[in-house]
């Protein structure tokens, strides 16, 4: 036990930086104030590299690597802002927007949505692929919360927070590819879930308007995403 922590030195965007060997490119970049966009990543939860917004170029590696799940290595040369990456990131966003019905103007989190603000940050002003306009359900059977599949981007933050922090594992994912959908328990109405503790952590971490609390005006639907790293820290401290 207690092996000495090794430090790796590497370059991100031609800047010399260093990080612990168990840290990811994303963590080291953020410590150094280098912006890499993310949607599925959330501090305090396991990273899964699902949204592909954090893709970076690493010299000598032909494919793009997701920064949130790639560990730093000695001598690595990472590029985060190339023209190609910016194009791909906008493309990822466009595909997310086209996949479901994201009508920002009438959304419960208009002005408080990570997808909406990411589009602006990355300069995505329109969706160049045709919208799919799928017909998707809204489940309002829970007494306090609603899941609107029209706004879900399948980041699975709800699944992870419910499993890793709350320990209930009410949420999971059903189906494959374009038919994937988040479900409660064995795909039964949320209000009939036997495992849900109604803690609301899933609602707090949802980046969009897919999960929201009933009966609150839009301006009060501020998500409390930052509380999570505190919870995770406290839990680890107890161990």
């Amino acid at each position: 036990m207690n092996q000495p922590v090794r430090v790796k030195t590497l370059k991100i965007d031609d800047r010399d930086v260093s990080g612990r060997e168990d840290e990811t490119i994303l963590e080291v970049a953020r410590q150094n104030g280098i912006f890499i966009p993310t949607l599925c990543h959330l501090e305090g939860l396991t990273s899964i590299g699902a949204c592909r917004l954090c893709l970076v170029e690493v010299k000598g590696v032909s494919r793009l690597l997701p920064a949130c799940v790639t560990r730093v290595e000695e001598g690595m040369e990472v590029y985060t802002q190339s023209e190609r990456l910016q194009k791909y990131r906008r493309m990822v966003l466009e595909l997310i927007f086209s996949e479901r019905n994201h009508i920002c103007s009438v959304c419960v989190v208009n002005g408080n949505c990570e997808l909406q603000s990411m589009a602006q940050t990355l300069g995505m002003t329109h969706v160049s692929v045709p919208y799919r306009f799928p017909r998707l359900p809204v489940d309002a059977s829970h007494e306090r919360f609603v899941v609107d599949h029209n706004r879900c981007i399948l980041c699975t933050r709800c699944v992870r927070v419910c499993d890793e922090i709350e320990g209930a594992h009410t949420w999971d994912v059903m189906g494959r590819g374009i038919d994937s959908r988040v479900i409660t328990d064995l795909n039964q109405p949320w209000g009939e879930s036997e495992t849900c503790t109604s803690c609301g952590k899933c609602v707090s971490v949802c980046p969009t308007g897919a999960l929201f609390e009933k009966g609150k005006p839009v301006t009060e639907r501020l998500k409390r995403r930052q509380s999570l790293s505190y919870l995770a820290m406290m839990r680890e401290g107890r161990r």
Binding site: I103, C104, T125
Partner: protein, 177 residues
């Protein structure tokens, strides 16, 4: 000085973008010293003219009339601007797409009508099967998202366009703004 020719068009939208356009207030006077408003719901001419430099299109393409209009507008416009979320994304008008046009007609003209319920087949333009953003129908040169875009965003975008620059509209506005 050679004045630029500006037009605005209103397809399937609520006219909120045009209201926001009017909210430029006294800056309208400044803008229209460099340009003429040659066609718009806000001015008289009934026919879309030729050789328009900049056309702002509010609204999504929802009906046969919209379809016809936008093609004619595109053919006579140098820089076509998708003006507001309906033109850029389909926005609220596109919310009927998951249900299909028949469900909408049924609801509006049959279920909710007590006297002679019937779906209109004349005078009112036929609805397209799908509501589409403008760039799915014709080429669009500039996108100004927002529901509606603020008067400030419209002003800055138009100032750039009149000066011959393409505005970086992501810095000015966003979807749902």
């Amino acid at each position: 000085m050679n004045k630029k020719r500006i037009a605005t068009v209103w397809l399937d939208g609520c006219s909120g973008c045009h209201m926001s356009f009017l909210d430029m207030d006294e800056r309208l006077i400044e803008l229209f010293q460099q340009a003429d408003l040659v066609y718009s719901p806000l001015v008289d001419p009934k026919e879309f003219p030729e050789n328009v430099d900049i056309t702002l299109v509010e609204g999504a393409v929802s009906s046969e009339e919209d379809l016809h209009k936008i093609q004619m507008v595109r053919a006579n416009t140098k820089i076509l601007v998708a003006f507001g979320d309906c033109a850029v994304t389909g926005n609220v008008p596109s919310m009927r797409n998951p249900f299909g046009v028949n469900a909408v007609l049924q609801r509006a003209y049959l279920e909710n009508v007590t006297l002679y319920p019937q779906v209109p087949r004349e005078v009112i333009p036929a609805l397209c099967e799908r509501v589409r953003p403008v760039h799915e129908v014709v080429k669009v040169d500039v996108f100004i998202p927002g529901c509606p875009p603020s008067a400030e965003a419209i002003y800055l975008a138009l100032t750039d366009l009149l000066a011959g620059r393409i505005p970086d509209t992501a810095k000015l506005t966003r979807f749902g703004a």
